[in-house]
């Protein structure tokens, strides 16, 4: 009887999650007795995810690893899943502690917060105005990273964040918001978009406005989607962790917890196969790895992978 592990994502079809699913399959192959159910709602809503999770509970899967659309709204349903003996972890975008056994951050939040502002500041020796283009107002991890970023702003004198706007992870809205930023702040030097949809839209908007070289777009994105913009110069550099590794690690953790080979408690070290192991803090969260920076020098090597 193979273990059935469900990888629940924010919405089907997003490149980042497709890559994570690849990682999950890789882990399944490595483990041998694992069946992956890759699923999620059609649009990024909590209600949709709840319906999906309900049907997973009904199928009595062994573990659910979820990247949540809403920190709180999934809690009651996930609690029910745990009550029925299902292992529940969150990864990428977290669930409140009551709703999961542990959470796997792609990287540590302070590191990401620092990384996104550093990427912008490195190209602004003189300092200048930067703005943030985020995903939806309710996206947990973007909000955390922006918070962490604001904490370290003191380390980058001369760089000021003039505004934060939300593109809802919709290409057209992000595009329009980026345009709005350029009009509102004529002296804007950089747009930080810590979301893979937003960064592409912002780069496109900067290109269309003819402001390549004047405004640098940076943040978190996928190499395959950003390759063109790095080459055109709209984006000098950006960062991301490897989503394949993330899906792989989440699956490994879920397997180990479901099997009883590891326990989710503060201070525990949970093995993640080839990714080593993750150490849980007292909020039962752990970080997978450092984000990795992509620029013109290495983009080609990665753009064909994810």
């Amino acid at each position: 009887e193979p273990k059935r592990i469900a990888l629940v994502v924010k919405a089907l079809g997003i490149g980042f999650f497709e890559a994570a699913a690849k990682g999950a399959e890789e882990a399944a192959k490595e483990l041998g007795d694992v069946e992956i159910i890759y699923t999620g709602p059609t649009d990024t809503t909590a209600e949709g995810q709840i319906e999906v999770i309900n049907s997973l509970i009904a199928q009595k899967v062994d573990a659910i690893a979820v990247s949540a659309n809403d920190t709180d709204a999934l809690v009651p349903t996930l609690k029910k899943a745990m009550d029925r003996g299902i292992t529940v972890i969150s990864w990428d975008s977290g669930v409140a502690p009551e709703g999961r056994m542990m959470h796997l951050n792609p990287s540590s939040n302070p590191l990401i917060g620092n990384m996104i502002i550093k990427l912008a500041a490195d190209n602004l020796p003189e300092g200048g105005e930067v703005a943030v283009l985020s995903a939806t107002t309710t996206s947990t991890n973007q909000n955390t990273w922006i918070e962490e970023m604001n904490k370290v702003m003191g380390n980058y004198p001369g760089v000021t964040v003039v505004g934060t706007v939300y593109g809802d992870d919709l290409a057209d809205k992000s595009y329009r918001e980026a345009q709005g930023l350029m009009q509102t702040y004529p002296n804007l030097k950089a747009i930080i978009a810590p979301t893979s949809v937003g960064i592409v839209a912002a780069a496109q908007a900067v290109t269309d406005a003819g402001k390549i070289g004047q405004i640098n777009v940076t943040g978190l994105g996928l190499p395959s989607e950003m390759a063109g913009h790095v080459k055109s110069g709209a984006s000098k550099s950006f960062a991301i962790w490897n989503p394949i590794d993330l899906g792989y690690s989440a699956t490994m953790i879920a397997y180990n917890l479901a099997n009883g080979t590891a326990k989710a408690e503060a201070g525990a070290e949970i093995p993640m196969g080839r990714m080593g192991s993750v150490k849980l803090d007292d909020k039962l969260e752990g970080a997978m790895a450092d984000p990795f920076v992509y620029d013109a020098s290495n983009i080609d090597a990665f753009s064909s992978i994810f």
Partner: protein, 324 residues
């Protein structure tokens, strides 16, 4: 002159001017010609779709499937581009495909006599679903599109991008259609009084079908523009946009009960929404206000339109006839 001031379109134009003045008082840059041109360009898809929707609403129907149609044709355009099909052929295909999707709506309304709101509620989910079936939900991103494909809407011609010129062209064509062709006038006849239309030899079902085909063709065309402009195609593009389109028509004074409405009103309704959407982030009003403001604008517009309709009742007294 006084009748000019009373007309719905003039008041809407005035409202737009006041809106612009208000924005300009906080952010003068917004009313620079360059930025206004940008706003117009941004609003172009809304204008084009609203004109198609107007034709449908005038015939007393509604088309809720336009956004899904746009998404599907846009995706097909992106996929054809990926397969190396030349751009002119892509354009022809999206328009034809959009028209076909519209014709499906029209046929169901005409031949099976199913209310248009039910038909398009159903086809809206079906058309979007087909995208998922075609792509497995995968996105087509900028780097997977050719430069030529992405460039067309952006090309600047006489100071305006082609995208904006397309909207202008559609406006002109629609004016000619509804004012100067028999089909255009038939839309108004059918929506105004279907019973009387039969007496004048106009086929109600066929006319409504024509309206759906036009709306569909415009949605198909916009599908290409949208995907090329934002350089991305996926299942959910333009999600919920059908309601913006209907709202633009409502603000523009297109009577939801059919039979009345003007191109000018419709275009201004779309511009009004477009300006609000573009201006809010610029003026520094929290984007969270945007939804409530457009809702309030719709309510004010319809309250105003109905107030403008004059006294009800038959005109029997001689002295009551012809009042201006």
């Amino acid at each position: 002159m006084s009748s000019l001031l009373k007309s719905r379109e003039a008041i809407l134009a005035l409202a737009i001017l006041i809106l612009l003045a208000l924005i300009a008082s906080r952010f003068p840059g917004f009313v620079s010609p360059l930025n206004l041109a940008n706003v117009f360009t941004d609003t172009s898809p809304l204008i084009i779709l609203a004109l198609g929707q107007m034709v449908v609403i005038v015939t007393k129907c509604i088309d809720l499937s336009v956004a899904a149609n746009l998404a599907l044709t846009g995706m097909i355009a992106a996929m054809m581009n990926g397969a190396g099909v030349p751009l002119p052929l892509i354009l022809l295909t999206v328009i034809a495909l959009g028209a076909t999707l519209g014709a499906v709506n029209g046929l169901l309304v005409w031949k099976l006599d199913i209310p248009s709101i039910v038909v398009t509620l159903g086809t809206m989910t079906i058309y979007r679903g087909i995208i998922f079936l075609l792509t497995d939900g995968k996105w087509i991103n900028a780097h997977e599109m050719t430069e030529g494909f992405k460039a067309l809407p952006r090309l600047i011609f006489l100071g305006l991008p082609i995208m904006a010129w397309m909207a202008v062209a559609v406006i002109v064509l629609t004016v000619v259609l509804v004012r100067r062709t028999a089909l255009g006038r038939a839309f108004f006849a059918v929506g105004g009084n279907a019973h009387a239309a039969v007496y004048t030899g106009i086929s109600v079902g066929r006319t409504q079908m024509a309206a759906f085909v036009i709306s569909g063709a415009l949605a198909g065309f916009t599908g290409y523009l949208w995907v090329a402009r934002y350089a991305v195609a996926y299942v959910d593009i333009a999600g919920g946009f059908e309601l913006d389109v209907v709202a633009a028509c409502v603000i523009g004074g297109i009577a939801i009960a059919g039979g009345a409405g003007t191109v000018a009103g419709c275009v201004m309704g779309a511009l009004f929404l477009g300006i609000i959407k573009n201006a809010l982030p610029v003026v520094g009003i929290s984007p969270f206000w945007q939804m409530a403001i457009s809702g309030a604008a719709i309510l004010i517009a319809i309250a105003f339109n109905s107030r403008n309709q004059g006294p009800k009742g038959r005109i029997i007294l001689k002295k009551a006839e012809h009042r201006a």
